[in-house]
Amino acid sequence: MSRPRYVMTVDTKTCVGCNACVLACKSENGLPEQGYRDWIVTETTGAFPNLFQEIRSERCNHCDRSPCVSACPTGASYRQEDGIVLVDPAKCTGCKACIAACPYGARYVHPRGFVDKCTFCVHRLTAGKQPACVDICPTDSLTFGDLNDPRSAVSRLLKSRRHKTLLPEEGLLPHVFFLI
């Protein structure tokens, strides 16, 4: 069996942008007031009355080619073999090089001096649980799982639904997929 590759899918057809994911993340991870590991983007295009709208719950894309990891001078930013990109707060000096390198705006400086971002709730995964945002989502728009397992829910969704990633032109191979 191959090693897992953890990914998330976000269903823009069902997401209502309620922010439950944002707040569940904040309370699960005890984030500071100004710190957000996920956020909602509502994009409206067209002119009244011919409008199109897409709502996305966004977070770190856990890119295969993660510029934040390359930019990190101390090795605090790293990518696990399962694809999850993390910051070791003990090694992070808060230099913000990773913040400059990330085109997705996924990182912020924690008041305690280190850079923080989405971990896919890795502490929950090790306990056999789903990320907090996935568990709370009232519209069941978020799905997390192993892309290398063809039977996983994410694999099935990515096979059956049209999808996209953000800023594909950056060539970073992001691993949060938006079902459209």
Partner: protein, 746 residues
């Protein structure tokens, strides 16, 4: 392994047991997970206690994680049929209410003028003695009916009981005449029963969901939003009628940006198409309905061409959507909404929604309206109310609003000051209901209060209404108290428990204790024979034959499932005068109202002004949560939405065209000005109206966070149109213009 349902490994009970149950087997699902240097944030509770939410009225089951005596997080209870393990943002935000530094902490007694918010802290004994004294004096001078109770929230049950024992039937909540009342009456007239809460809509199984005015998704009724998402995933389509491109409109097959106030014209035109093209459920109507021929004649001339100049919706689009909606019947829901008090003809509009449901045959059908019942829990026995109270005081001369099914909160407010009522109210108890924002025209409410001899507020936060009370009693939050058990009518019958998660903070007390203490001081102790609310709730659960221990452990117990629609074998019956669905209502006719809804155009606003519309954001409940600092992290002030084309030519903004984020002042047709509020210049709204989220622009000094944030729509609702059928206050009848702020905040 990946097929294992996420629910199967979420365990309730203590965290220890839960973790043990997760154990080894499931870890193998994540076998390849790297060992990580990431520290655990330590927010899992050492105790996980189930209860139900009170951030809004939906009452979802939650799990409160308590670690070292502190609530660290609130998650959904997978066992609870309304939350199914998932929560809206407000549910998670209960911690923001619990730990709000502005909470009422001690009983207060007024020292200054009413409304000046000057109080002194007193002991519970002193405060309760004061309340008891006031109630006894009021009864002696004016009789018990002179005391009214305004109540919102589940803990209000103890005070309703107190008031009935005291001898007054003047008990009201703004949730009727300011909210869902017209809908209830419209459906009662048509089908013989209202919808109640949670509304028994089978959105999950519907094939077409039509929202007319409601904005589900922003209106965050957890279960309904979950069901809407499930329906979308299963291929259901949305038709959204809204002057604003709502979240739901963004997901709809059809968006009909209707001119505000003309919904009834559209509904009649839809009926016309459905009837003239024979798209209705003929067998269903034949069997269950009366008045079809009259309806057919009534809508014969209500063509899409007729409706077009009223609604602004092209005739072809009206016809096409009518066919689309009918094509999905009977699994086609025209959502009746919840706050339906818009234009004063709201019962008739809701009648039209109900009549359409009948034409589609969706009442009592899968994917339509279900007919559920609740679990039967016997009441705790107590002395029967011996005082036969005088008629309720809410209607002038007892003749107006003949079909009001509940007491009118606005009517009680009126009866406090005007002469046409059977008697005047002299005292108010206000439980958890910020009447200054909930009733139209706050000036009128303030005037009524000024005439009171006695007023008590029971609340968690020092909202505006508390500033007007003689005595303010601090209630603890839902996370610190036990209330009555909750067993509503729902397709899956259940009983849920509200139990304290931590001890009450500060000197706040649970509502049951406050009501009981007052009763004991005024000789009504026989009516409160229970030691505490636990004894009360346990008695009911035990009498019904359920295990209290299991209920406390799981938070919810399921009852026996019974058929809720025809497809499950339910036989339809209708509690109307004819025993049938009444497309034509003889009852309305006899009262001098149109037996079938008749459209009349709304009054136009003054030139250059916009109709003021208001609604909901998913992160907030009315004005109750605007001080919640946790929720404010995702929504911290409301904005006024204005069409971008209109904004470009806005008078007064020639020098500096209005941009999103600029602060403006709204001035209504009576010259009332709002607090400065940020503009949102957008394509997502028609040009003849503006929109804002209700519940902002607080003025109460004690709401240190919310005070001055955004603008209050209530403040601008100086006019309202009363529904002659049931007394609902139509509040979408005000108009505003925008004024720039001299010094712009960037």
């Amino acid at each position: 392994m990946s097929d294992i349902s996420r629910r199967s490994f979420i365990k309730i009970g203590t965290a220890g047991a839960g973790a043990a149950a997760v154990g080894s087997g499931l870890l193998s699902q994540w076998w390849g997970l790297d060992s990580s240097a990431m520290p655990d944030p330590q927010t899992d509770g050492d105790q996980v206690i189930p209860t139900f939410c009170e951030l809004c009225f939906w009452k979802c089951g939650v799990l409160a994680h308590v670690r070292d005596g502190r609530v660290t997080k609130i998650t959904g209870n997978p066992e609870h049929p309304l939350s199914r393990g998932r929560l809206c943002p407000r549910g998670t935000g209960g911690i923001g209410l619990l730990y709000d530094p502005d909470r009422l902490k001690k009983p207060l007694v007024r020292t200054g003028k009413r409304g000046a918010e000057q109080f002194t802290e007193v002991s519970w004994d002193a405060a309760l003695d004061r309340v008891a004294e006031g109630m006894l004096r009021l009864r002696e001078r004016h009789g018990p009916e002179a005391l009214a109770l305004f109540s919102h929230g589940y803990g209000g049950s103890w005070f309703k009981h107190l008031l009935k024992a005291y001898g007054s039937a003047n008990i009201a909540a703004p949730s009727y005449a300011q909210c869902r009342g017209p809908r209830e009456v419209g459906f009662e007239l048509t089908f013989g029963q209202g919808l109640g809460s949670p509304e028994p809509l089978d959105i999950e199984n519907t094939r077409c969901l039509t929202l007319i005015g409601g904005h589900l998704g922003e209106n965050m009724h957890n279960t309904q939003v979950q069901d809407m998402a499930r329906a979308i995933s299963r291929g259901a389509q949305l038709v959204v009628v809204d002057p604003r491109f709502s979240t739901a409109a963004g997901k709809a097959k059809y968006w009909l940006p209707i001119k505000p106030g003309t919904d009834l014209a559209l509904l009649l035109a839809w009926m016309h198409v459905i009837i003239s093209e024979k798209l209705y459920d003929a067998d269903y109507l034949q069997q269950h309905a009366i008045g079809f021929d009259q309806l057919k004649a009534h809508v014969a001339d209500k063509t899409p061409d007729w409706a077009y100049p009223h609604t602004g919706i092209r005739p072809e689009l009206i016809a096409e959507t009518a066919r689309f909606i009918a094509g999905a019947k009977p699994a086609s829901i025209i959502h009746p909404g919840r706050r339906t008090t818009w234009y004063g003809d709201d019962t008739q509009r809701q009648r039209a929604v109900a009549i359409l449901a009948a034409l589609l045959g969706s009442w009592g059908r899968r994917g339509g309206f279900l007919l559920p019942s609740g679990m039967d829990l016997p009441a705790f026995p107590y002395t029967s109310y011996h005082h036969k109270p005088k008629t309720i005081a809410d209607k002038p001369k007892q003749t107006l609003y003949p079909l009001a099914g509940e007491t009118l909160a606005s009517g009680l407010c009126d009866a406090t000051m005007k002469g046409d009522f059977p008697y005047n109210l002299k005292g108010w108890i206000v439980y958890g209901s910020n009447l200054i924002q909930a009733l139209p025209d706050p000036r009128q409410t303030q005037k009524a209060i000024e005439g009171l001899e006695f007023m008590v507020a029971v609340d968690v936060l020092p909202s505006e209404i508390c500033g007007w009370a003689d005595v303010v009693l601090p209630e603890c939050t839902y996370l610190e108290r036990c209330d009555d058990v909750h067993a509503p009518s729902y397709k899956e019958p259940y009983v849920a428990v509200r139990q304290p998660v931590i001890e009450p903070m500060y000197d706040a007390k649970p509502g049951w204790w406050i009501a009981r203490e007052i009763a004991h001081r005024i000789g009504l102790e026989d009516y409160f024979p229970w030691k505490d609310s636990f004894e009360y709730a346990k008695h009911r659960v035990k009498q019904a034959g359920y295990s209290c221990a299991e209920l406390q452990k799981k938070g919810v117990l399921r009852g026996k499932q019974v058929p809720v629609c025809q497809e499950e074998g339910l036989a339809l019956s209708f509690d109307t005068p004819s025993g049938k669905i009444e497309l034509h209502s003889e009852a309305l006719k006899n009262l001098g109202f149109h037996p079938i809804p008749e459209y009349s155009p709304p009054e136009e606003g003054p030139p250059g002004m916009f109709r003021l519309l208001f609604g909901r954001a998913p992160m907030h409940t009315f004005g109750r949560t605007s001080n919640n600092r946790f929720l404010s992290q995702v929504f911290d002030e409301n904005e006024v939405w204005i069409n971008s084309r209109v904004a470009r030519g806005l008078p007064g903004f020639e020098e500096r065209p209005l941009k999103t984020g600029d602060k403006v002042v709204l001035v209504n047709q009576d010259g009332v000005k709002s607090n400065p509020v940020r503009a949102r210049v957008t394509e997502r709204i028609r040009g003849d109206c503006v929109y804002m989220v209700h519940g902002w622009g607080h003025t109460a000094k004690g709401l240190r966070y919310a005070r001055g944030r955004g603008a209050s729509d209530s403040e601008l609702i100086t006019r309202y149109k009363v529904d002659p059928i049931m007394g609902g206050t139509g509040m979408n009848v005000n108009f505003v213009r925008l004024e720039p702020l001299p010094e712009q905040l960037s």
